[in-house]
């Protein structure tokens, strides 16, 4: 049995003249991908912000030291690893002498000692940290490469262009989970870095929570058994891809990430997989055909390198039968709602910042309605810290007058978290 299963959920019936094909493609990996072969080699770099601001309060740098040690402790034997201290002049604090160390009891201890000596000072130039990490990963090619990046501030000591250039240079080289500690960092900036590097982004409100978060992130990274997985989408002549987005566990638009294979086929990167399930919403515009005609609107193949791990077919059948073509697939409807939920939160928070309470109330109200209806309790709880919910089913809310920055940032950061179909009230 394949360690991956790929399933498509859609209503394949289109009304006459209809041209939009929507489908949810669910990919499940049982995590055993490496079992039959030898365990894939991994490379791991911990990047910790050690800029001057990490010293205020001092428990921030202390927590960062501790979290780095915890992360190092999670690294399995045989994994190539390094620790980078990030400032405006990033420094590899372990191993000395360049390259990556191979994890063992001894190297983990030595790295832990180095982490305990981390000192705060200097500025924040995240692009240079990523460049340095890219250089280190390049010394150990062929491994599943992953980094975790922690920062507490905005990218102040390099231009946005420098960050863009650094991102473009390392894109596809490694995966990077990003964490912002405190409330002085910018959600949009860190989200862009994490998105480009196919990683997650999250807020660590209190320094004390850092160690647990790092442990979870590192355990997740160590559980990845298959790297370099991409979703290949073929569409027929005359058709176009409207969008391809990951919709669970978080929303991530992949449309712009397509790597064209030929005129009809493109690959979308999905990075590394452990035992997990992800859902993708694919929307394709096809030329309409006559009643009764069938067309393959899309062929989705999951690839590891060039090896096919599974495939799903997206079909279109035109019919005059209203009963058939007006049904919306439950999965498609659910994730369309989850995508709208994320948009509503981000637009609502932006309107609130811009001093437009009417738009903010309307958008966040709609968000509450969507979150409640879909059973996205996590997001609902975060929304409740920003608005007073009067009636969730109708989306009637009032903006709270005093909202803690950390609540607002938490809601923004986690706005893209979705729940899977069937998690709601059944």
């Amino acid at each position: 049995m394949s360690p991956f299963t790929v399933d498509a959920y859609q209503n394949e019936y289109l009304t006459l003249g209809g041209s939009e094909v929507n489908a949810i493609v669910t990919v499940t990996a049982d995590g055993s991908a490496g079992a039959g072969r030898h365990q894939p080699e991994a490379a791991e770099i911990v990047i910790v912000d050690t800029s001057g601001s990490m010293d205020s309060p001092a428990r921030k740098i202390k927590a960062a030291r501790e979290a780095t040690c915890v992360a190092i402790g999670c690294i399995r034997d045989g994994v190539a690893f390094a620790v980078i201290a990030g400032s405006d002049h990033p420094r590899v604090v372990y191993p000395a002498g360049g390259g990556l160390a191979i994890a063992s009891a001894q190297t983990r201890e030595a790295a832990g000692l180095a982490a305990h000596r981390l000192k705060a000072g200097g500025g924040t130039a995240i692009g240079s940290w990523l460049t340095r990490a890219g250089e280190l990963f390049a010394t150990a090619p062929g491994r599943i490469s992953h980094a975790i990046l922690l920062t507490d501030g905005e990218n102040q000591h390099e231009t946005p262009e420098q960050l863009d250039a650094a991102l473009a240079q390392v894109e596809g080289r490694f995966q990077c989970d990003c964490r912002g500690v405190g409330t002085d960092w910018r959600v949009s900036e860190l989200r862009r870095i994490a998105s480009t590097l196919l990683g997650s982004v999250d807020i660590i409100a209190e320094p004390d929570a850092m160690a647990d978060d790092f442990r979870a992130a590192m355990q997740g990274a160590m559980g990845k058994t298959t790297g370099n997985v991409s979703l290949r989408l073929w569409i027929p002549q005359g058709a176009g891809v409207a969008f391809v987005r990951q919709v669970a566990p978080t929303i991530e638009d992949l449309t712009g990430r397509a790597v064209q294979v030929n005129a009809l086929t493109a690959d979308y990167p999905t990075a590394t997989w452990g035992g997990e399930t992800r859902d993708y919403h694919i929307c394709i515009n096809v030329p309409a055909r006559d009643a009764g005609e069938e067309m393959l609107a899309g062929r989705v193949t999951l690839l590891e390198g060039d090896r096919s791990l599974g495939q799903a077919l997206l079909r279109a059948i035109w019919t005059a039968d209203e009963q058939l073509c007006t049904r919306i697939s439950r999965e498609v409807a659910h994730y369309t709602g989850q995508a709208e939920l994320a948009d509503c939160i981000q637009e609502g928070l932006e309107a609130r910042k811009q001093g437009d309470p009417a738009t903010a109330t309307f958008r966040l109200g709609r968000a509450v309605q969507l979150a409640a209806a879909s059973g996205n309790d996590g997001t609902l709880k975060l929304l409740e810290a920003v608005v007073d919910v009067e009636d969730a089913p109708t989306g009637t809310v009032r903006l709270r007058r005093d909202v803690a920055i950390v609540d607002e940032m938490s809601l923004d950061t986690r706005s893209t978290a979705t729940v899977r179909v069937g998690s709601g009230t059944t």
């Binding site: 073929w234 027929p236 002549q237 005359g238 005129a263 009809l264 096809v286 067309m295 393959l296 062929r299």
Partner: protein, 214 residues
């Protein structure tokens, strides 16, 4: 193994056509034919020639046909008794396109005599032969000097349809194929209908005008 779909495409995938997505055969995926063999499925092509389903533009002037009108609104062409139409492809060197593209590595030819090709029914390949003996030369062979190095060996196809119309298809050229003043190339492997007088640009300066012979 390859199969041929109802629209006549050769497909590497045997369940649905890998070009147009049409279902191939009733057997569905993997309906057990000899691997390695090319299976031509027995297809009875249903050609409906009744006017109402013919939505192609007028083969003579390219005007859109409204409903199942018998006569073209543009030129009076009689859809029900199509007259034999003949197309020419006239090739010239186009200074305007050369300047628009801003190619610096290629010189614009000093002396270029107009070349005229009459299109055969079916596919007319646009390309550059290598000059080998016994070579299958493209019908519209642009190998003669002055040579436009931006034209691919097999660049595009002018397909003169049985209904009298003419379509252009880029067959995977290196530098793309352009129609008129468009600055974006036409999508590869896609039929682009042409009308009388349309100008096609290939390579650095080659312009091909399709003409309906009166």
């Amino acid at each position: 193994m390859t199969v041929v779909c109802p629209s006549g495409h050769t497909s590497q995938t045997t369940d649905y056509c890998d070009q147009c997505g049409a279902r191939v055969g009733a057997g569905g995926p993997g309906s057990g034919a000899d691997p390695g063999a090319t299976t031509v499925l027995p297809i009875v092509e249903e050609v409906d020639t009744s006017p109402s389903i013919r939505r192609d533009p007028c083969p003579a002037c390219g005007a859109t046909r409204s409903g199942d009108d018998r006569f073209c609104e543009g030129c009076g062409y009689d859809f029900l008794s199509p007259r034999a139409v003949a197309w020419d492809a006239v090739v010239v060197a186009d200074r305007g396109q050369f300047d628009r593209l801003g190619v610096s590595s290629v010189a614009f030819p000093v002396d270029y005599a107009e070349r005229r090709f009459s299109l055969v029914e079916g596919e007319n390949r646009i390309g550059r032969s290598r000059g080998h003996a016994g070579e299958d030369k493209p019908e519209i062979d642009l190998a003669a000097t002055p040579v436009d190095p931006g034209v691919s060996r097999l660049h595009a196809v002018l397909d003169r349809r049985a209904d009298g119309g003419c379509v252009l298809r880029d067959v995977g050229s290196t530098n793309g194929t352009f129609i008129g003043d468009e600055l974006t190339p036409i999508p590869p492997h896609t039929d682009m209908p042409l009308s009388d007088g349309d100008r096609i640009h290939v390579g650095a300066w080659t312009a091909i005008t399709v003409r309906l012979r009166p």
